[in-house]
Amino acid sequence: MSLEERKKALRYLFGPVVDKLGYKFTPVEEDADFLLEQEALLEAETGIPYCPCQARTKDRAENMRIVCPCIPFHRAHYDAMKRCWCGLYVRKDVTDPDKLKQVPEERINAH
């Protein structure tokens, strides 16, 4: 399967999952394409489409929390940001993702 085909497949697989979680792909198509490409490359390298913006560790259980779509593992954090950490998904009501901030989990938990 080519990289482009795998990107389409990941989009097809993830779409219905995040839809049920109240999220959609970012309308910024350039960002969605870049992020899906990075995930397809990470999947080709590791066998798993990990989040492209979070580091893997030696702890498998911890790594499972950053397998895309990782929304369920970071629900309160992402709901507060109205997007996931890497920005591939935004809440369904978001129309201008560029206005959304990337806020660390600690700062959200502090409120």
């Binding site: 490359l41 990470l42 913006c53 979070q54 580091a55 560790t57 806020v103 660390p104």
Partner: protein
């Protein structure tokens, strides 16, 4: 001018946008791609990030003595001006 260091992942969109921000604002910086480092260096970087109260999410940016996790141009500007 404050020293700026960006801990990044080569796969991360917001790490790229952060690098672009400092380039466009003509702020010299050092970028270290975590995923391209040795295991020992990765352990050092992760320890530093966790000591700063952060998780393993990128980008992690040091501006002088302060640090920022995530792409936040307003915060970058504030820290550069301090």
């Amino acid at each position: 001018m404050k020293k700026v260091t960006i801990y990044a992942l080569s796969t991360c969109l917001w790490c790229r946008k952060s690098k672009k921000y400092f380039e466009e604002n003509k702020v010299p910086f050092e970028a270290v791609d975590y995923d391209k480092q040795s295991e020992a260096r990765q352990a050092e970087m992760m320890k530093e990030m966790k000591c700063a109260g952060c998780t393993g999410s990128f980008p992690f940016i040091k501006i002088g003595a302060a640090c920022v996790q995530g792409y936040d141009p307003d915060e970058f500007e504030k820290l550069l001006k301090k």
